[in-house]
Subunit: 331 residues, 2 copies
């Protein structure tokens, strides 16, 4: 969450001139994005009406290879009416440009704010918006493997190491080992798959009141099962930040909203608890890795892995289906 690169106004002005959006009026580095730099840009617009954009500079080389997927997906979903920002193409119709060895893209600015304490009505809207990108992405012609799929979690845990996990919290290594065995034993096969967001935390949803105005930050988007994406979103939205308390009403509203657009198959419904345990494990492991590799005194706020250890435990309870459905028995 930082602006890594300092671009001078001359460089920014020159970049903007490569797009048909008028001249640069204002540029503010914004604190969004984990591994890239972002500016909120205002231009004079094509027809004299000022316009706003997000200019993103991709700081890691590996991301450039995936930009045709990420940026093409935004255009694909926006063209199908999803609330995602469009990529602004340059005068040569390129979706991104290189500035030295870094890629930059100009992306539509969307109104809305990220919700801190969601309500069930907001959860419903988010569930519906998630289902709509699943449906609209079905005919997107490009695929991207999930870097953080279940098959890789055991290796991720090994990289953290027993003592590394124990250094985060006593007993964590044992909890992780049990969870790995659990998800490997119970992971569902043959669920419907397609393009998923894979990181739809409240940070990545812009809202005005109960309305979703934008789904953003598709940089974990990939192909995996739709129900797994819903499980990730459930873990992201229906718990408080500490992971200690789950708001059943939000979790159920999320699933209801999802089903208002795309009804789940019985196998998807049945799998949600184990998928949510998997989702919790995935964030537990990446947070633990970051935790171990971020000095305690660093200015970056470390995200607590235990917030997902607590979610994992909650999703293991025998009544976990009730976190998703008012009447699980009917499923």
């Amino acid at each position: 969450v930082a602006v890594y690169t300092d671009l001078g106004s001359e460089t920014l002005g020159g970049l903007i001139a490569e797009f048909d959006v008028g001249t640069l009026i204002s540029a503010k580095g914004i604190a969004e994005g984990v591994s890239n730099s972002n500016w909120l840009i205002e231009t004079s617009g094509r027809s004299g009406v000022t316009q706003r954009f997000i200019l993103t500079m991709y700081e890691k080389r590996v991301e450039v290879a995936d930009l045709p997927f990420f940026l093409g997906l935004l255009d694909h979903l926006a063209a199908r009416g999803c609330s995602v920002p469009r990529t602004i193409h340059d005068r040569g119709d390129a979706a991104f440009r290189m500035l030295g060895d870094k890629a930059i893209a100009l992306i539509e600015f969307l109104p809305g704010v990220s919700v801190g304490s969601p309500t069930p009505a907001q959860g419903f809207s988010v569930g519906a918006a998630l289902a709509r990108i699943h449906l609209a992405g079905a005919d997107f012609g490009v695929a991207r493997a999930n870097d953080l799929e279940r098959a890789g979690w055991r290796e991720l845990a090994q990289n953290c190491g027993f003592s590394g996990l124990e250094s985060v919290a006593t007993g964590l290594a044992g909890q992780v080992a049990a969870a790995l065995d659990d998800v490997d034993a119970h992971w569902p096969a043959d669920l419907p798959e397609g393009v998923i967001h894979a990181d739809l935390f409240p940070d990545n949803v812009l809202m005005l009141g109960d309305r979703v105005t934008g789904l953003i930050d598709f940089y974990f988007a990939c192909n995996d099962s739709y129900a797994y994406d819903l499980a990730v979103t459930h873990a992201a939205w229906s718990f408080d930040a500490s992971g200690a308390s789950c708001d059943t009403a939000i979790g159920r509203a999320l699933v209801e909203g999802y089903q208002s657009q795309r009804p789940l198959l019985p196998a998807e419904c049945a799998a949600l608890p184990v998928l949510a345990r998997g989702a919790s494990l995935r964030f537990l492991l990446t947070r633990a890795w970051d935790w171990m590799h971020t000095p305690a005194g660093a200015l970056v706020t470390r995200k607590d892995p235990l917030a997902f250890a607590r979610r994992l435990e909650r999703y293991r309870q025998s009544d976990a289906a009730g976190l998703f459905f008012a009447d699980p028995a009917a499923k």
Copy 2:
């Protein structure tokens, strides 16, 4: 340069409701300000036309005591036609509000971008804008002492310590000791004083082309000599970032622009080189302190104290008056 506090959209929305600016449409944490948190806010506006503002949260207690000075100064200067952002008062006409133990202020958004490589024409405009705030501030009824005035530099150097300064660069402690003696011996008395910006680096000036659209970040503003402020601005604008090379044309244009609004007294002209040595020493010392107290691996970019050690040396040369005036002999 970071957003320290994470404000939820509910809190932000509630805050905005205390002002007569419509409802919250968008809020982005922006990477501006050294010791405070800032958001670029968009609201629906009073009459349906969207408006933008900067919302600032003051993270340090000490600043709250100075807010009547800082925010009152903005209003005073804006009312006199200076290009500074106005403070938006709340419905109870307060210039700032408390949120818990932190103060927040809503400040006018101004267009413009900070210049990376200024031109002489831009230097001229900045000099003129600086003089205009000096003139307009003359009847501002509140005063604030300069925390970083010359009288405190020796103590600042002692706090860094001999070995601390030498850890930044070999020989730096000796250069500082000589500079302290130099400025103490040659500092001018009885120059015209008033409210000064004291930190008018390119970062703190918004421009569109050659035009100054905003002077911002008045959080070092204080009462001191006008010519010292011009010397600070000269050191800030007419060198490259490394301090190794001085662009005489920019420096002279800056002074010319200043004099287009407020002609300097002969004593002020004569004092500019020693004032600029003092300005260089002030930034050298605060940067050295920050350097010694920031781990090399921290995510915050450390600003190199040597960039001001080099300026200090340049201002010591016998031809230093030529950095300010095309024909110093005529002064």
